[in-house]
Amino acid sequence: MTTSTVDVKAPEQAPPPAPAPGRRRRFAVHFAHYKWLYLLLLPGVIYFAVFRYAPMYGVSIAFKDYVPFLGVNASPWVGFQHFQDFFSNPDFGRLLGNTLILAFLNLGIAFPLTIVLALLLNEVRLSILKRTVQTLVYIPHFLSWTIVASLSFLLFALDFGPLFLFINSVLGTDIDFLSDPAWFRPLIVLQEIWKNTGWGTIIFLAALATVDQDQYEAAIIDGAGRFRRVWHITLPGIRSTIIVMLILAIGQMLNTGFEQIYLMTNALNRDVADVFDTYVYFVGITQGAYSYSTAVGLFKSLVGIVLIFGTNALAKRFNQSGLF
């Protein structure tokens, strides 16, 4: 990443533009000088061109009435028809609401918890304990959502799931966690926390290792307690990492995780469970409405882009250090 930034910036530092032949020669000199760096850049460019940009051609079906048999070119254009249908659909508000609520819950709860866990791990003095705990909290990341969902079904099963029995006997209630719409979101967030919090600490732990140890010694001499040290030294030390991770997380925010939600949905909680991802699958893949679901997906991507640029601008405004 750093190398490519250097490359891109290099031409800007070149002297003011000369007549065309000269400029071309200058570029040739420049290119010859940096050829190995450009070579390093090449695989990345090819990757993005082939796997990220070329497929965008397929996005054109959002503006067509695509029938697989006719192919992309022969399918008739319909303009913004699919977008109109989607925005005027009674499902639209519900889908947007569900997606945003889940996204913000994940961002607001799971994201800070990752930092908290990283800080806790950082404070563990006993090396062997720290490493063991670290390894243990990474494990859930490697389980697929299918397994996480099956575990949830077992634990919360009506009348015999251990957690179902325990929670309801403690609270004296009779809650069916799996079908009660009010419990759908908490369950999803809990699963997300269980599965991914540990894994997310890796980058923060790396950032924590770079915090200057001398500052802690100085703070201890000044009489700062543990919390003071965390607040005034550790957190500011990893602030830029937190912001970068936050921007990345917000860019991914609307990807609420298709498998997880699909597996946890049933007729009773569908009202709160339907999100863009499951809707696109249901309408597009199972009902063959490719164009319509591509339009929905495209809309989702646009919202994602707005979010990522917005957050970046905000971050720059407050810290002068955004992602780009």
């Binding site: 006719l70 009773l268 490719y290």
Partner: protein, 509 residues
């Protein structure tokens, strides 16, 4: 999802690129007439191997090099849609139903219209023209349908519990309630604990999936998906009988005669509560009777008789019997135009399908290989005991190969001889009950009709009602809420569906 969408898009792009290359490369080579490619679903844990005995025998009997792409049944519809968008299209595709994806492609000309073509082939000229019409898209036949018994709905119950409590097998829906109540409250397993319930119902999604709800509604007289009232077709959920039937089911849910997790219970575990003595009744297709008997037999080969009892359709509160039939088919074998380009190639494929429905191939697909896994006794296929490893493989493989059977001229293969006299007796009774129920079958009058609006958003529309039905039963909404959902179905496009269906219906008369 973006990734999923992009990979789909990538596939589309690759497909287009390939098409372009093919065009610029001049004439594509003519298809090899000795090779047939097929896409079919498999329902077992593993697909059959490509060089198994059944495969070899199939190639020998048909004289073709048959290449089958087995696709898991659970994701078949997805896979079929994606395959149609790709460049690797098989010559014969099992299509599981008139899904919107299929209809759109068919109407764009993706499949051969076989309406007037099947008559020339003795084994494809159906003896059930009504079913062929049901399987058509507004009269156009896009495939050779896979025939199924029209009557399959049954009520299965623990015969030992029934005997212990001194009850009679249910004949009416009211009897069903009484038996379910007794199974719940009178300790049918005699362990002194209140730990049983009446009917086990698993998670069912959509409308018209032959779910227990659908069956009970038909028994109540609500019709079957669509019903004729005052000279018009209306969806059965608009009838008063639909509401009555659901009040009846709700009463059973409220009195805990149905498993409380009916909205989430995993359908693949449907047999477990029955077998383990938790829930004593299952309302499903009658083939489950043998599955249940087999469970008890495996657990105790000496004492498995009289554990499973069953009856067919139940009389509704109006005192009449309205039985719940299927449409008589389970999808069809369609021929894509992209892979079969000329009439001559089509002829080749149809000849192959004709052969597939001949007596000898039908016996291979459904019974297996004579002398390896079965022998013929009194015109019936008897399993060879003890099973050889080879015979076992064949027996497993044919469960998948049977998916390729069409049987449009009736069952050409041997009826299976049951393993014991008791099982034979139950089997014969099943055939008898189903034949009797056929007389009072309430067919779906709109089975053959495909309305454009329904294709566009029918599944979403139906979900409104299907979800409301479950919510009503679970007590999340009241009857008013259910009625509101039905109204919402109408205003969100259902009215248009109804109009189109009625027009198609009038035109077909």
């Amino acid at each position: 999802m973006t990734r999923r969408k992009l990979s789909l898009a990538a596939a589309v792009v690759t497909a287009t690129a390939l098409t372009l290359t093919a065009c610029s490369g001049g004439e594509a080579p003519a298809a090899d007439s000795s090779k047939i490619t097929i896409m079919a679903p498999f329902l077992e844990a593993q697909p059959p191997s490509a060089d198994g005995a059944v495969q070899q025998k199939l190639e020998e009997l048909t004289g073709k090099n048959v290449s089958i792409t087995w696709t898991p049944n659970a994701s078949y519809e997805d896979k079929m849609n994606i395959t149609l968008a790709s460049s690797e299209i098989p010559q014969v595709m099992v299509v599981q139903g008139k899904s919107p994806g299929f209809v759109k492609n068919a109407e764009a000309g993706a499949f051969w219209d076989l309406t007037d073509k099947l008559e020339e082939y003795p084994n494809l000229k159906t003896t059930f023209p009504e079913v062929e019409k049901n399987a058509s898209v507004n009269g156009k036949v896009y495939g050779v349908f896979r025939a199924r018994n029209p009557i399959r709905s049954a009520v299965m119950f623990r015969q030992d519990w029934l005997d212990k409590l001194g009850l009679k097998a249910p004949e009416t829906t009211e009897d069903l309630y009484k038996v379910a109540k007794a199974f719940t409250e009178q300790d049918p397993d005699g362990n002194g604990q209140n730990d049983t319930w009446g009917i086990t119902v698993p998670k069912f999604g959509a409308l018209g999936t032959n779910s227990p709800y659908d069956m009970i509604e038909t028994w109540y007289g609500a019709g079957n998906r669509w019903t004729e009232r005052d000279g018009k077709l209306i969806p059965s959920f608009e009838t008063e009988e639909f509401l009555e039937a659901n009040r009846f089911v709700k009463k059973m849910v409220d009195e805990k005669l149905i498993n409380p997790d009916f909205a989430t219970f995993d359908g693949t575990k449907w047999n477990e509560p029955f077998f383990n003595g938790k829930g004593g009744i299952i309302v499903d297709v009658d083939s489950r009777v043998s599955v249940l008997i087999n469970l008890f037999k495996q657990a105790n080969p000496n004492d498995f008789q009289n554990k499973v009892g069953f009856v067919g359709g139940l009389q509704g509160p109006d005192g009449e019997l309205h039985t719940h039939p299927t449409d008589g088919y389970s999808g069809f074998l369609a021929v894509p135009k992209t892979s079969v380009r000329t009439e001559a190639e089509l002829k080749n494929v149809l000849q192959f399908l004709d052969k597939m429905n001949s007596k000898e191939v039908a016996a291979l697909l459904n019974n297996g290989i004579e002398g390896v896994n079965f022998t013929v006794e009194d015109g019936k296929a008897a399993t060879i005991k003890p099973e050889t490893p080879e015979g076992k493989t064949v027996a497993t493989d044919i469960k998948s190969y049977a998916q390729l059977g069409t049987n449009v001229t009736g069952n050409n293969f041997y009826p299976v001889k049951q393993a014991s006299a008791y099982e034979q007796e139950v089997f014969d009774k099943r055939v008898e009950v189903m034949a009797e129920d056929l007389k009072s079958a309430v067919y779906n009058p709109a089975a053959a009709f495909v309305s454009p609006t329904y294709v566009a958003k029918g599944a979403q529309l139906d979900n409104i009602v299907a979800d409301a039905r479950i919510k009503y039963l679970a007590g999340q909404t009241d009857e008013q809420g259910l009625k509101v959902a039905i109204k919402l179905w109408k205003t969100s496009g259902g009215d248009k569906v109804q109009e189109e269906i009625n027009k198609l219906w009038q035109d077909s008369k």
